[in-house]
Amino acid sequence: MTMHSHPSDETLARYAAGTLAAGPALVVATHLEGCAACRRAVAGFTAAAAAMMEQLAPVPMSDDALALALARIERPEPRPVRTGPSLPSELVAGDIRIPLPAALATRAIGRWRWIGPGVRFSKVEVPEDPTSNVILLWVKPGTRLPEHGHGGTEFTQILHGSYFDGIARYRAGDMQEAGEDLEHQPVVDADGECICLAAVVGGMRPTGMIGALLRPFLPM
């Protein structure tokens, strides 16, 4: 039996409600692109969030709100904007070329930088979320990452290859959500390189694996 790894219910619920921070939300959006089960769960949680919005105590609008709304609908509708220059559609890491997740298409992504033996990273800009760092990680086959606990939650979506963290194996399409209570030591499988998208939350205490690796490089 193959176990697949998905975001937690709480993460999916917050994503559906729009209250998950933008960094983790980017990782979840990447997961959803390949996971119909989680897309269905998000649809359900969205309907639930909408139903709960109806139950919140309403907050009155200002007195002229309706008049303003009725005036705005009389204004001419702007023409739809044309799409900008064509966006990159591939993620390239050495000889590996994989489709760039659509969620990343409009994000500025830095170049690969060496970070330790067998490990490179590039930064994904999510300026609207100061609480997390989002990176792509590119790890050589068989690389053993340092054993580590987590200062905050790390959200990791596997885009290519696989790793085993001593507890479970994570393959392309899986998402691992590692809470602060998890201690693990991921080892990238020997048969191929591994590329992941990760959001590291809780920038003040970067004791997580990725946080620890990044510390010298990032103002966290």
Partner: protein
Amino acid sequence: MTRPDDETKLDADGLGRLLQAIAERRDRDAYARLFRHFSPRLKAFLMRGGLAANVAEELVQDTMLSVWRKADYFDPARGSAVTWVFTIARNLRIDHARANRHGTPEPDPSDLPEPADLSDDLLISGERDARLREALRTLSEEQAQVVRLSFFSDKPHSEIASELGLPLGTVKSRIRLALMRLRTLLDDAE
């Protein structure tokens, strides 16, 4: 705005018919009724997520303008009016946060591409939506409270715990159990 209660309390079918009236004949009266129903609720939702009242109100206006312009995309067979309007507000808030941070002017809502979440597989059927609302009523008040908090507030568990005067572990397990129960209800509603 003082209006009779029955004007702001519309059921899901009634809201859907108002949306269809806008789509079919640009019905301004229907739009005013939808605005009275949704705007104070959208404002409450946006403020729960940490927005100031004036910013929340601007986003409500943008959401409702988008509702007017995109009403013909609404299909009652593919989800309730409430879910449809909520999804527009949620996406606009996310876009607003991103645009603000970039220092770029905010896009007019009608310039935005169709929200991806309105594609087929991300909506649940109207019937399932109705059963879900029924099922939500079966949550205990205690469960409903933690579900609301875990959905609508961007606060960490530790902050929720101190607000509720509960140990952190209790809050974590309540959220997990309440969402598990909600997930079961959602699966049953399929």
